[in-house]
């Protein structure tokens, strides 16, 4: 029929292309490249989801600012006014705000990532795409949603009498470390949350425990005197990140172990997360 024209008619000169194995999965590098090529998904989709989130409320998008403001307000009322846990902390309001905002960012990311696969089964089953885009969307969406909260924290810190210093310039680095840590945690959470959907009921309790173990509402330095125990706190990544952020904005002390912890967690977590996720990527939601 078109035997002789087959070379000319195939613009991609397909006849000469070698066949590739369709049953082996891509190498990690190719997988990441493919995901990166489709990165717009992980930006546009969470942005739209965020916009849709408060459509039915009177205050609408304003809630992205109101929520963290109220959160901080409640904790300040209880721990700053009713029960005083400020014990020797300079600028307790600033201390509280920085801790709560950063803690909740990680909590929201991990909790949303846990259901990112199971809530998108329809999409997974209808279109083939790198599934890492789904937890990546959780990370991007929740991080974007917390930009107002971080600005709020900066304003609050200024309002409580802090003045910008050179240390403030290091805050973006702390936040970047938290971002990559969150990303790794999100991948692990997505992986476990898909295999064991019960995770979404466990996570709130796990985070409540972590909340108290991260010195969000009280100063670990003021309550924990044994150097050994303080060193143990440095094993908690969220405590490390919060402490670094407080150092940057408020000038509170930070010890070497916390710095080591921050660097280690933000290097190790993305790698472990990717490994855990990629290993069973094909089975997630299949």
């Amino acid at each position: 029929m078109d035997g002789e024209s087959s070379n000319a008619s195939s613009p991609r000169s397909a006849a000469l292309r070698p066949l590739i194995d369709l049953t082996t999965r891509p190498t990690p590098l190719n997988y990441l490249r493919e995901a990166w090529r489709r990165r717009e998904f992980a930006i546009v989709v969470p942005a739209q989801d965020l916009r849709a989130q408060n459509m039915d409320t009177t205050l609408g998008q304003f809630w992205h600012l109101m929520n963290p403001a109220l959160l901080v307000g409640v904790y300040f009322l209880i721990f700053g006014v009713v029960i005083d846990t400020s014990r020797g902390v300079d600028n307790f309001l600033g201390f509280l705000i920085v801790g709560i905002v950063l803690f909740h960012l990680t909590q929201r990311v991990v909790q949303e990532a846990a259901v990112s696969i199971t809530q998108n089964l329809g999409l997974i089953r209808s279109i083939q795409f790198p599934r890492i885009l789904l937890p990546a969307s959780s990370v991007n969406g929740q991080t974007a949603a917390f930009i107002p909260a971080i600005i709020l924290a900066l304003l609050a810190v200024l309002a409580t009498g802090e003045r910008p210093s050179m240390r403030w310039l290091l805050l973006p680095i702390v936040l970047a470390a938290q971002f990559v840590f969150n990303f790794g945690s999100a991948l692990i959470s997505a992986r476990i949350g898909t295999a064991v959907p019960d995770l979404r009921h466990i996570l709130p309790h796990l985070f409540r425990l972590l909340f108290y173990a991260s010195g969000v509402i009280f100063s670990v330095e003021a309550f924990v005197h044994s150097p050994g125990w303080r060193r143990a706190f440095a094993l908690n990544p969220i405590y490390d990140l919060i402490t670094c952020a407080r150092w940057s904005l408020l000038g509170h002390t930070v010890d070497g172990w916390v710095l080591v912890g921050t660097v280690a967690w933000s290097l190790v977590m993305p790698m472990v997360g990717f490994w855990v996720f990629f290993r069973s990527e094909q089975r997630l939601g299949a």
């Binding site: 029929m1 078109d2 035997g3 087959s6 008619s9 195939s10 613009p11 991609r12 397909a14 006849a15 292309r17 066949l19 590739i20 194995d21 369709l22 049953t23 082996t24 999965r25 090529r37 489709r38 717009e40 998904f41 546009v44 989709v45 739209q48 849709a52 998108n120 089964l121 329809g122 999409l123 089953r125 209808s126 279109i127 083939q128 795409f129 885009l133 094909q282 299949a286």
Partner: protein, 251 residues
């Protein structure tokens, strides 16, 4: 007629696929502990038991067979979604699989679903905006495009899904019963898209229980029975054998 002259786009060699079928219980921890373990028991079922088949350029291959004969499993294996127990499947590029069932994001409008699906497929936002009208018209859902997709009929969902998945003409297109829910107009358009794929030196695999559809669209038909290929050849011929063997014992 279409012979096996075109060069090969997909080459399946002695492919075996096994499924794990989990035994139901999962009645919670109590039973799990009683049995001394929480991990669920499973049996291994061989769904594809040694299939060898080639697809060629410009070819539409029909895949027919009873329910459970392994048609969908074979398609999943071709996309790399299911690992092979042994054998090999090689191809020019990763095939696009089009199934019937899914709704991408039921709560969102058709328009938003087109955007989300398109982004997942690797289109840029501007590319999708540029093709939006074409996709909507192809799917024939213009009057419903701003309604949540959960309000769509099965036919509308399938059409929209088909339109999104083939917005960029794939080189190898696998269609798993995606045409069954459409009306005649949709089938005509779908046939055009399949011709586009074949015209661009690609291949189409069509899984269907509708024999007139198979005879109409396919250049060649393979009959899959219990994980094995029983016969491959001219559509009219294979369909006739298949229908005559399966009709008498329809219980």
């Amino acid at each position: 007629m279409m012979t096996a002259s075109g060069s090969v786009t997909v080459e399946i060699r002695d492919a075996h696929v096994s499924y794990r079928v989990y035994e139901e219980p999962a009645k919670g921890l109590k039973q799990g502990f009683a049995r001394g373990r929480i991990r669920r028991r499973y049996r291994s079922i061989e769904a594809i038991r040694g299939v060898t088949l080639n697809l060629h350029e410009h070819e539409t291959l029909g895949l027919i067979g009873a329910n459970g004969s392994g048609k969908s499993t074979l398609l999943s294996a071709m996309t790399g979604l299911l690992p092979l127990a042994s054998g090999s499947i090689r191809g020019r590029s990763r095939p696009s699989l089009l199934g019937v069932s899914s709704v991408m994001r039921p709560a969102l409008s058709g328009r938003r679903n087109i955007l989300i699906g398109g982004l997942a497929l690797g289109f840029s936002r501007s590319e999708i905006e540029a093709r939006m009208d074409e996709i909507i018209d192809f799917a024939g859902v213009r009057e419903a495009i701003d309604r949540p997709m959960r309000t769509y009929s099965a036919g509308m969902r399938a059409r929209l899904h088909f339109a999104i998945a083939t917005a960029r003409i794939p080189e190898i297109l696998l269609i798993d019963e995606a045409l069954t829910v459409g009306d005649e107009e949709f089938r005509r358009r779908a046939a055009e898209r399949m011709d586009d794929v074949c015209g661009a030196a690609g291949s189409v695999v069509l899984v269907s229980h509708n024999m007139s559809e198979v005879e109409r669209f396919c250049d060649r038909v393979a009959w899959l029975d219990d994980g094995l290929i029983r016969a491959v050849g001219e559509p009219a011929e294979i369909v006739e054998i298949y229908v005559s063997t399966s009709r008498p014992n329809s219980r």
